[in-house]
């Protein structure tokens, strides 16, 4: 068989194998993305045609006080979740990896369990537990602050509590990733380190931490992207209140699109968040890689 013939056959196979993905990707991702971009330059409602307005939506958005509040809340939320959840997951992973066999599987399952719950169930559980009158966690809050607190109606408590709920909900996945990373570190490195005179503390900082770093960087980046997209928990627990103290960017997009029927403006919000996430996560990943190489 000639070379060009073979090449053609290979190309046909390649096309055949990639086609399903390319089609699905185009229909459900590329086309909608294009639509959102196009929409953000119009004044169209959610459904139906609108007029081209150029950059008007963006200009309006950058003069919108609420948008800055939302942005700030997003960053506040990232601050409250990303690093804390990674640290907690790492501590849990280190503890769990010391367990053996079935106990380990059991404990791991217990930590992973919240992750399989739908967000509505998670928020329901936590609204009950934190209920102002009957919540079983109120005595705890009372013990610390001296009085019960309606946490989701209190401007200072609302974001931190949503962060707690989010960490509880999603932490199991991070634990799983970190455990996998820990298992990849050969046991004889620890034995060599023990013979070299490393204390458990030194073993962690000089062996575990640097070798686990790629996984830790991955967890941090995934978390950053995920937490910038915060919406469900806010929507279900506090509705963005009180006094917009938990209003986040996606909340604003949701309101503009589905409650105020401003499809164009909502698309502009979505675009800004999209660009923000791309830029921040690339930036972070690069920073983490440099940090890891040092």
């Amino acid at each position: 068989m000639s070379k060009s013939n073979r090449r053609r056959r290979e190309l046909r196979t390649a096309a055949l194998l990639t086609a399903p993905f390319l089609i699905l990707f185009s229909v459900f991702f590329l086309y909608p993305t294009y639509k959102v971009i196009a929409l953000s330059f119009t004044d169209s409602p959610l459904i139906g045609e609108g007029n081209w307005v150029g950059l008007a939506n963006y200009v309006e958005l950058f003069n919108d006080r609420l948008f800055y509040t939302s942005l700030w809340n997003n960053f506040y939320f990232v601050l409250l979740t990303v690093i804390p959840t990674t640290v907690i997951a790492l501590l849990i992973a280190l503890a769990v990896s010391r367990l053996k066999g079935r106990t380990q599987a059991l404990v791991l399952t217990m930590f992973f369990l919240p992750y399989v719950l739908p967000v509505s169930v998670v928020t329901m559980i936590w609204s009950w537990m934190l209920d102002f009158q009957f919540g079983i966690l109120q005595p705890l809050i009372e013990a610390v602050t001296g009085k019960p607190v309606p946490v989701f109606k209190n401007p200072y408590w609302v974001m931190p509590m949503i962060a707690v709920v989010t960490i509880w909900w999603t932490n199991g996945f991070n634990v799983l990733l970190l455990i996998a990373g820990l298992r990849n570190i050969p046991a004889d490195l620890y034995e060599a380190a023990a013979l070299d005179g490393a204390t458990p503390w030194q073993r962690f900082w000089r062996v575990t931490w640097p070798l686990l770093w790629p996984v830790t960087a991955l967890v941090l980046t995934l978390q950053l992207i995920l937490q910038l997209k915060i919406f469900d928990q806010v929507y279900l627990l506090s509705g963005g209140g009180p006094f917009n103290q938990s209003y986040v960017v996606l909340m604003q997009m949701y309101r503009e699109a589905f409650q105020l029927n401003n499809g164009g403006y909502a698309s502009a919000v979505a675009m800004v968040l999209f660009v923000l996430i791309v830029v921040v996560s690339i930036l972070q990943y690069q920073l983490l890689r440099i940090g890891g190489r040092k």
């Binding site: 060599a192 013979l195 070299d196 005179g197 490393a198």
Partner: protein
């Protein structure tokens, strides 16, 4: 210089219900090169790791020098270990790998630098100091692992099959380097291997382990010349000793006359101090190099495979009774494949064992 020998007394190790080391006594003297050999799973690594302190000792006592270290941490035992997998820290450079223990001990920079460079000089690693382990060849990694041990200047070096991941040529080269290193440092070394040749060439003293016991220990040639049981006789020497079932026919002045089962034509005289009674069933062990081809009476062997190595050849065949036999030929090409040869044991070179494997002397 203080005594840095390693002494084990009635040492035992169990993993759960399984007892792996069943009461081992041994003395490795200061500066000696000791080698543990034995079949896979016999507990060589376990014993070495117990000496290193990486496995807890279930029972018994481990003494290094004049200190009882049975319950001490690995770092306090004054031992360094070279792992089969090398266990180099992949994120650190060669230099940092070797400096690791000194940095942990917070030694001054100048001292660290001097020691690392000295070790790197001995091991010819100077130009690789800035590389990561991933950028080195197998032999270089092995040298880094050894360098990491040298830098600590331990009383005792422990090696767990350090050369088994290398190709044959490199293995020979590293073996020589290890022997030189031992001469140079004069430290006590304990070395685990599967490899006959490594054991015979490196060891001052070999410990043959099997079933959680030391079967025999001694200088390599003592074990070869005078094995104390059938296991050691079969294990030391390559290719391994031929074993034949035999029956004692009569006692002579200095020993016995025996006949091999299925070979009634050939009576053999064996010199024994404590000869068993006529009729006793014994096992006769004869090394391949002690079977000589003859024109006269002897054991008739049908050669089916001939391994010609140039200088020597090993002829594999069967006796008329069906027992497998190997005999060695030296020098010229023999073309014995497919022929029937007659061989006789060299006088005085056959070992007698009772049916349970114990040597009859």
């Amino acid at each position: 210089m203080q005594d840095t020998g390693v002494h084990l007394r009635e040492v035992r190790k169990s993993f759960g219900a399984a007892e792996v080391i069943r009461g081992v006594d041994m003395d490795v003297r200061r500066g000696e090169f000791a080698v543990f050999v034995g079949p896979s799973g016999c507990g060589k690594s376990t014993l070495l790791r117990m000496i290193a302190g990486l496995e807890e000792t279930t029972d018994g006592k481990i003494v290094i020098g004049d200190r009882d270290v049975t319950d001490e941490d690995p770092v306090d035992r004054g031992v360094a270990m070279v792992f089969q997998s090398y266990a180099l820290y992949p994120h650190l450079s060669v230099y940092e790998n070797m400096a690791f223990s000194l940095r942990l001990a917070k030694r001054p920079r100048a001292e660290i630098d001097e020691k690392v460079r000295e070790a790197a000089g001995i091991l010819q690693l100077i130009e690789h100091l800035d590389k990561k382990p991933g950028q080195l060849s197998g032999g270089q990694r092995q040298r880094v692992a050894i360098g990491r041990a040298i830098v600590r200047a331990p009383d005792v070096f422990l090696f767990d099959e350090p050369l088994s991941n290398l190709d044959a040529e490199l293995r020979v080269q590293m073996r020589l380097e290890l022997a030189r290193l031992h001469q140079k440092l004069g430290a006590t070394m304990i070395y685990v291997t599967h490899d006959q040749v490594e054991a015979m060439t490196l060891a001052d003293r070999i410990f043959v382990l099997q079933g959680g016991h030391v079967q025999q220990s001694g200088a390599p040639l003592d074990l070869y010349d005078d094995p104390s049981n059938r296991f050691v006789a079969g294990f030391i020497g390559s290719p391994s000793m031929n074993f034949f079932d035999a029956v004692v026919e009569a006692q002579t002045g200095q020993g016995v006359t025996v006949r091999l089962t299925g070979q009634p034509d050939l009576p053999l005289d064996i010199v024994l101090a404590d000869p068993p009674a006529p009729g006793t069933e014994i096992v006769l062990g004869i090394r391949p190099e002690h079977l000589a081809v003859t024109d006269g009476e002897g054991l008739r062997v049908t050669v089916d495979v001939a391994e010609e190595l140039g200088g020597v050849s090993y002829q594999h065949g069967t006796l008329e009774g069906g027992d497998a036999v190997i005999f060695q030929q030296i020098g010229a090409r023999h073309e014995m494949h497919g022929t029937v040869q007659t061989v006789v044991p060299e006088p005085g070179r056959a070992f007698a064992f009772d049916r349970s494997g114990t040597r009859i002397r």
